[in-house]
Symmetry: C2
Subunit: 327 residues, 2 copies
């Protein structure tokens, strides 16, 4: 048992504002289903006014993964910015109460804490309208050897590149990781995000990343290929391990020429797809740190993703862990 | 179709902070299961620190009932105080987005918006630790003919008597209701609350109330009887209609010498008992306004309460209404 932090995540610190909506609302606000759109504060107010009653809970892609790791019992840490407002204190509490080492406290004088309006349609799919607020004010100065420490894995989300100093702080984080011998893991966030930062992601994948987490559309976007199979071929050429999720088609793990295919577990009802990928990443990293084979990691990750899909809310929590499908 | 508001509720404007906990946590904080305890801000911070990750959603007993009425399609209005902070704006949004006429806007310069820490044990029961904050600053000046209008029913919760000017503003509300010909309905909140205000509640029941909503322990406490049957006997002596819930034993409606007994609907899993009584009240009032017989009201109320028990969260919302048990 080491005292080293297993995974430190760097990403957007966001409170989710979840509401069930009908498809018409997506049309009304001009949102494409399953997209994540960055919006400004004025637009956030407009979208919120069109939404019905909502439920608030801590979210953020890497933050979800870090919370999931902590729920599984791993030592985990997080770097992300929240304002010292009610939602920022809620976000911080929710991670700290799981034992996550939150490296940056809520700060006065920022824009308000980030909110992602998550619109859940009757098919269980989620469409996100995200106001970055305070978390866009994360600066490169806050990412250094002191705040990162020497975790086994430094996990960066693609969305981190969207904030002003994002590309710079990502480079700094990868530099620190190299010094401390931490594995760099990158989660590609979404296909549009990959389009925005393709060159930076390709460079990070080639030169820094030990692991890349992506879904089908993200990996196709990264390599700009026509098919998933072609993207898998491209992934084989890299040193990094690729964990590629394909929703109901399961996942594919690519480790050079080794390719492991894992079926998805059946889901009775897709209640809310929010966070399924984040839970998959958490479980995969957890099992990997515990010395699991790639196949074992893929099985456990799929089970955990299934449990999260069957509940409202994006985190792999104690409740979801009690409702894992049989392996 | 009248343009008159069907029900105006006056009560505490509270955001629920819900978390699943084990029984040990109740012991650690010295809370009795299923109790509602009023706590100060310092204690609220301590309780919150001991809780795991939570979900935030609008609550409050009468506010839940008003939201339920609006979800059912009734014209409903609400008087309660929130601060102009994030939680206060969330509370207000959640009611307004259902079409509820929120009579008081969020206000600057108050204590923070009220929070009820709702601790859900594995048996689905909820124990509440409530910090009243801003809602304790509701004043008698804010309850008058202008803010109340002329609804068909003015619904007061027992908890309203707990706030500083509560007894006085309740009297004022009942006086206004008499002027405008509104029926006064009182929901007794909890047995401890009845102990705190028994004389005032008995007086209101005898002199003002057209309807009294209570559960078994509350009505026994109100009349200080040894048994539920004895309490039903006492209720028969009043002009008011009594709607008395008994969890798995269903409910009893007492209208003078007429007594209607309604069985409960079977519940597969008690997910979260929060708000079951509030939903029962909403459905009963809705059906009554629609001209339903007392039996019809009792059936519909029981179905709606069952739907709320089977989900996390205390409001009879669109989702719960889609999952009503067959009558």
């Amino acid at each position: 048992m080491t005292s080293r932090v297993s995974v430190l995540g760097i990403g957007n610190a966001i409170v989710d504002v979840l509401a069930r909506v009908d498809d018409q609302l997506l049309a009304d606000i001009g949102a494409e289903k399953r997209s994540m759109t960055l919006i400004d504060e004025q637009r956030a107010i407009e979208v919120y006014q069109k939404m019905g009653p909502a439920v608030e809970m801590s979210g953020g892609s890497v933050a979800n993964t870090i919370a999931g790791l902590a729920s599984l019992g791993a030592r985990a840490a997080f770097i992300g910015r929240v304002a010292n407002d009610q939602l920022g204190r809620i976000f911080t509490h929710d991670l700290q109460s799981l034992g996550v080492d939150v490296r940056l406290p809520p700060l006065d004088g920022l824009a308000s804490t980030a909110r992602s309006h998550i619109l859940i349609t009757p098919d269980g799919q989620r469409t996100m309208q995200t106001y970055l607020g305070a978390c866009a004010e994360l600066g490169v100065d806050e990412v250094n050897e002191r705040t990162i420490g020497d975790p086994e894995v430094v996990l960066l989300e693609g969305y981190a590149w969207d904030i002003d100093q994002g590309p710079e702080l990502a480079r700094e984080a990868m530099k620190v990781a190299e010094h401390t011998g931490s594995v760099v893991a990158i989660s590609l966030s979404d296909a549009r995000c990959v389009e925005r930062h393709r060159d930076a992601f390709l460079d990070a994948t080639a030169r820094h990343a030990g692991m890349v987490f992506a879904n089908e559309t993200e990996i196709i976007s990264l390599f700009d290929t026509k098919s998933f199979d072609e993207a898998v071929d491209r992934a084989s050429d890299f040193d990094a391990l690729f964990v590629l999720t394909r929703t109901e088609k399961g996942c594919v793990v690519v480790d050079g020429s080794d390719i492991i295919v894992q079926e998805a577990y059946p889901v009775d009802v897709v209640t809310d797809a929010t966070g399924a990928g984040d839970a998959h990443t958490a479980a995969f990293l957890y099992q990997r740190a515990a010395g699991g084979s790639l196949k074992e990691c893929a099985v456990f990750a799929s089970r955990c993703a299934t449990a999260v899909i069957s509940q409202v809310g994006g985190r792999l929590d104690e409740h979801a862990l009690k409702h894992l499908p049989e392996p």
